[in-house]
C-alpha cells in the first residue's frame, strides 16, 4: 500500500492539547510539511508565543525557544543574527502579535529580519478564556466585551497584513485561511513561499492565517469555519499584500 497521507517527519508524536476542532493543529501540520519538503528540519528553530500555542515547541521535532508574551519576533531576531544559516520562524496569536507585541512585529518586519512570522488571527484571546482581541470584530461578544465590541471605546479590528505591507523591508505579506480544503492548500503554498524566501535569504515574510476558536466563539467545530467565512473574511480580506520577489507567480 502506498502512503497517501500521514504525519509529517518534523512533527513530534505528542497529541495536541488544543480544543476539538481548533485550527492550530492543521496550521502546525502545514508548517511541519513545509519543513519536511524543504529538507530544513535539522536547521529550523521555532519561537513559541504565549497563548494557546505556548506549547507549540512540543509538537515540532525542531529546536525551539519559548518567548515572553509578544516578544517572539525580538527573540527570533537574536537567534537569526547568531545563526544566519538557520531557518527561524515565529508562531503567534492575535493577542500576542497584534496587542502586546505590536512593536516587536512591526520593527522586526521593518528591519527586514530574514525570518518567517506566522500569525494566527482568530479574533479572540483563547488561553485566558475568550477576551476581546485587537482583531475582534465590531459587535463581537467576548468575555471582556459582553455588550459587543464598540468601536467608540475599543476601536476597530487591527489589520496587521495591511499595516506591515506599508513597510518597505518585508518581501512577502499574505493573508490566508483554512476554512475549506481549497483554501487550506493555498495556506500550505503561502507557508511554503514564506519559508522558501527565508531559505533563499530574501528577507522578512508574514503569513496571517484567519482561524477559528470554536470553544471561545461558542460554536460547534463544524460551524466555526462557516462563521469565519461569513463574519471574519469580509473584515479580513484574503490576498497577498506584498510579494516583492514574485514568489506567487513563479
Amino acid at each position: 500500500m502506498k502512503k497517501i497521507f500521514s504525519r509529517p517527519e518534523s512533527m513530534s508524536k505528542k497529541p495536541f492539547h488544543y480544543c476539538p476542532g481548533c485550527d492550530h493543529g492543521v496550521i502546525h501540520r502545514l508548517i511541519a510539511e513545509v519543513i519536511d519538503e524543504l529538507e530544513i528540519k535539522n536547521r529550523t528553530i521555532g519561537v513559541a508565543p504565549v497563548g494557546c500555542s505556548v506549547f507549540a515547541y512540543d509538537y515540532f521535532d525542531v529546536d525551539f525557544n519559548q518567548a515572553p508574551h509578544g516578544r517572539a519576533p525580538a527573540v527570533a531576531t537574536g537567534i537569526k543574527r547568531v545563526r544566519p544559516d538557520s531557518i527561524v520562524f515565529t508562531y503567534q496569536g492575535d493577542g500576542d502579535l497584534a496587542a502586546i507585541g505590536t512593536a516587536e512585529i512591526i520593527h522586526a518586519a521593518n528591519r527586514g529580519e530574514n525570518i518567517t512570522a506566522v500569525f494566527i488571527n482568530n479574533a479572540i484571546y483563547g488561553m485566558t478564556g475568550g477576551q476581546m482581541a485587537p482583531t475582534s470584530l465590531i459587535g463581537m461578544k467576548t468575555q471582556t466585551s459582553p455588550y459587543g465590541r464598540d468601536a467608540a471605546t475599543a476601536g476597530h479590528p487591527i489589520h496587521m497584513c495591511e499595516m506591515i505591507a506599508t513597510l518597505e523591508s518585508p518581501v512577502y505579506v499574505t493573508r490566508v485561511t483554512i476554512n475549506n480544503p481549497a483554501n487550506l492548500m493555498k495556506t500550505k503554498k503561502a507557508l511554503l513561499n514564506a519559508f522558501t524566501l527565508q531559505k533563499e535569504g530574501k528577507g522578512f515574510s508574514f503569513v496571517e492565517v484567519v482561524s477559528t476558536c470554536p470553544t471561545n466563539w461558542g460554536k460547534k467545530p463544524t460551524d466555526a469555519h462557516k462563521w469565519l467565512t461569513e463574519n471574519m473574511l469580509p473584515v479580513f480580506k484574503l490576498g497577498t499584500f506584498k510579494d516583492t520577489q514574485g514568489v506567487e507567480k513563479s
Binding site: 502512503k3 504525519r7 492543521v26 470554536p214
Partner: protein
C-alpha cells in the same frame, strides 16, 4: 482500493472530517474513546477515493490514508 486509518487516541470527535468528506462516507462511531468522544469512522471504505481531504482537515493529524499501488 484505499485504506483509511484513524488513531482514535488522537481523535477529539470534532467532526470536521465528517463534514468535509465529499462522498459522505465518514460518520461518528457508536463507541466512545478513552477521551470520552465518539471518534470518526469509515462507513464505506470501498467508495473512498483517497482524496485525503479528511486527513488534511483533521486538526489532530489523527488520520492516515493508504492506496493500493497499481
Amino acid at each position: 482500493m484505499s485504506k483509511w486509518v484513524i488513531n482514535e487516541n488522537l481523535c477529539k470527535g470534532c467532526g470536521i472530517c465528517i463534514a468535509r468528506c465529499p462522498l459522505k462516507i465518514l460518520a461518528f462511531a457508536d463507541h466512545l474513546t478513552s477521551k470520552g468522544v465518539h471518534p470518526a469512522a469509515m462507513t464505506d471504505e470501498a467508495k473512498c477515493t483517497s482524496c485525503a481531504i479528511c486527513a488534511r482537515s483533521c486538526p489532530d493529524v489523527a488520520i492516515e490514508i493508504y492506496k493500493e499501488e497499481k
